[in-house]
């Protein structure tokens, strides 16, 4: 009974601490999504792969989105002609290198400021490295999801000045889902082709309404994942015997592997994952906490379904392995030489 109480108090405490940051992240990303024009941003990006990778990883400061929001933005960036290094740098760094996540991490780890600094430094380093690797590939299409690749290929073709009149819906081939009268969704359209344009082009009144809708949707989606994450954290704390956690958490290698596995499974949003990590702070090594905070936002279970809308599965596996190895290496250095 005491354990149940402890677990529930822990659960609500995590929820109450994380909710404001989640809300702030959602509010910011909704506002920026609808008021920042990505095309202008892309035009300002450097073409040099290394510089592009760095610029791409810093774009997160303008789109404070967590890992659920960054995939659609990265997809739009790629489909609007951003260089691969910019898009990949953004995809991997944006969930961590942004003001809200840095603030949340600072809130959680006030007495270990090195965690806050190293989290940003490591995330940047890994994102820039992988983005540079991607920029070596001159033709990205074998790596991309077929839909996105097709879209990239078609953007090279100039758009005809006079749009051809749409053929009768009855004469189109494909699989359709009928929605409200007059509207339909083509199921076999590649995901990227059916993507709406950047909403910035819409009138202000509608944009505000769309923003509200985005806030509600993201709060629902990310809030539910937060609840599951908080429940897992609370359960582990209460149910798993302390000796097991201690023996796992004090080893320089086992602690990193355990936290990386946990990060992959828990899939908690990057704006609030520092509070999750905090609940392990007293027993796990600093390196392993960093591994959780760096690895989790880049790849996790929840991310796979989103990443599949952008890349082919073997590309995702490649990114996973690369991110995993780099995280392991960097945080092992922390465990062995710094802390």
């Amino acid at each position: 009974m005491v354990q149940l109480n402890t677990g529930l108090t822990l659960f609500f405490s995590l929820l109450v601490e994380a909710m404001p940051f989640l809300l702030l992240g959602v509010l910011f990303s909704s506002v920026l999504l609808l008021f920042v024009d990505e095309r202008r941003l892309i035009a300002a990006m450097p073409r040099n792969p290394a510089l592009g990778a760095i610029a791409g990883s810093l774009v997160g400061f303008m789109f404070p989105v967590c890992e659920c929001g960054n995939v659609p933005v990265a997809r739009r960036l790629l489909s609007q002609g951003a260089p691969a290094s910019v898009a990949v740098g953004f995809l991997l760094a944006a969930p961590t290198v942004n003001p809200i996540v840095i603030w949340a991490t600072w809130t959680a780890f006030r007495d270990q400021p090195e965690i806050v600094v190293l989290r940003v430094v490591f995330s940047m380093a890994i994102a820039v490295t992988i983005a540079c690797v991607f920029s070596l590939q001159s033709d990205l299409s074998p790596l991309l999801n077929r839909g996105v690749a097709k879209l990239l290929a078609t953007t090279a073709v100039p758009i005809p000045a006079t749009p051809t009149p749409a053929p009768s819906p009855l004469l189109q081939s494909g699989t359709f889902l009928l929605q409200a009268p007059g509207t339909r969704v083509q199921l076999d359209t590649p995901a990227a082709l059916s993507l709406p344009d950047s909403p910035v082009s819409k009138p202000l009144r509608l944009r505000v309404r769309l923003m509200l809708d985005n806030i509600v949707q993201e709060m629902r989606e990310l809030g539910a994942v937060l609840i599951l994450g908080a429940a897992i954290a609370a359960t582990v704390q209460v149910v798993v015997p302390r000796e097991i956690i201690l023996s796992l958490g004090q080893g320089p290698i086992t602690s990193i592997l355990a936290m990386m596995a946990l990060a992959w499974v828990v899939s908690i949003c990057s704006t609030v994952d520092s509070f999750f990590a905090l609940s392990f702070a007293s027993v796990f090594t600093s390196g392993s906490l960093l591994a959780f905070l760096v690895f989790g936002p880049m790849v996790d279970l929840k991310n796979i379904s989103l990443l599949l809308t952008l890349f082919r599965s073997r590309t995702i596996l490649f990114i996973f392995l690369l991110v995993g190895q780099l995280t392991f290496l960097l945080t092992l250095i922390v465990n062995l030489y710094i802390s």
């Binding site: 108090t9 405490s13 090195e114 769309l210 007293s282």
Partner: protein
Amino acid sequence: MRLKRPRRRTQPFPWLDILDWLAIFALGSLLLHYWISGQLSVLLHPDFRWLSNSAAILLLLVSAVRGWQLFQQVRRRRPVPSLGHQSLLPRQISSGLLLAIAIFGFFYTPRAFASETALQRGVTETLGMTRGQPQQFVRSGPPEDRTIIDWVRTLHVYPEPDAYTDQAVSVSGFVIHPPDWPDNYLMLSRFVITCCAADAYPVGLPVEIDGSRSDYPSDTWLQVEGRMATDTVGEQRQLVIQPSELTEIPEPDDPYAF
């Protein structure tokens, strides 16, 4: 109550939108409830309570505007615009989960951690472990003004117990019965938090009592006045409070130390 005949609509009734709205409204109300009832003090460090309180207001504002939008939609049969969204969990499950947890939160009163949790987490007299530096230096002042956490921080800086012999002590905390200690010793303890209950860790000082510690059951809150002495407890030479007065007190509103 008279039932109205359902009106014919071109748009289906937005049940799912209403569920979303309810979930956000309930979450905002739960945070507001924690704020007003003072239960937030069991969950969060005082520095961060304003965050939760602002989130309550923002969530309620969002739900108010969204509620108005939905009302318009139902009344004028106007569809709510949508961006289209990729989601991981089915929509009903997400909003149902949020709503259920928020409602449960209204009925469940969070309780401050107690001795069993302290024993499970391991009480320390030092702030060592993986903690970094102590957050603040010890306040200079008479020893009887120090709280348990001040004493533990002082010991962390200068651990020799003999240095404190015969200093006056006046501290409050809850009782723990460490299993490997003799019957005439108990530990007076407090949980320290830096952010929220998730990182709460217990610190404590041994108290030597006349008679059996069963007179002071676990989790009783005590105010202890006395003098410091050095003794060997649990095979460790350490600072021990020799009390002149032990008073039972109610659990304080802010049960944690900072």
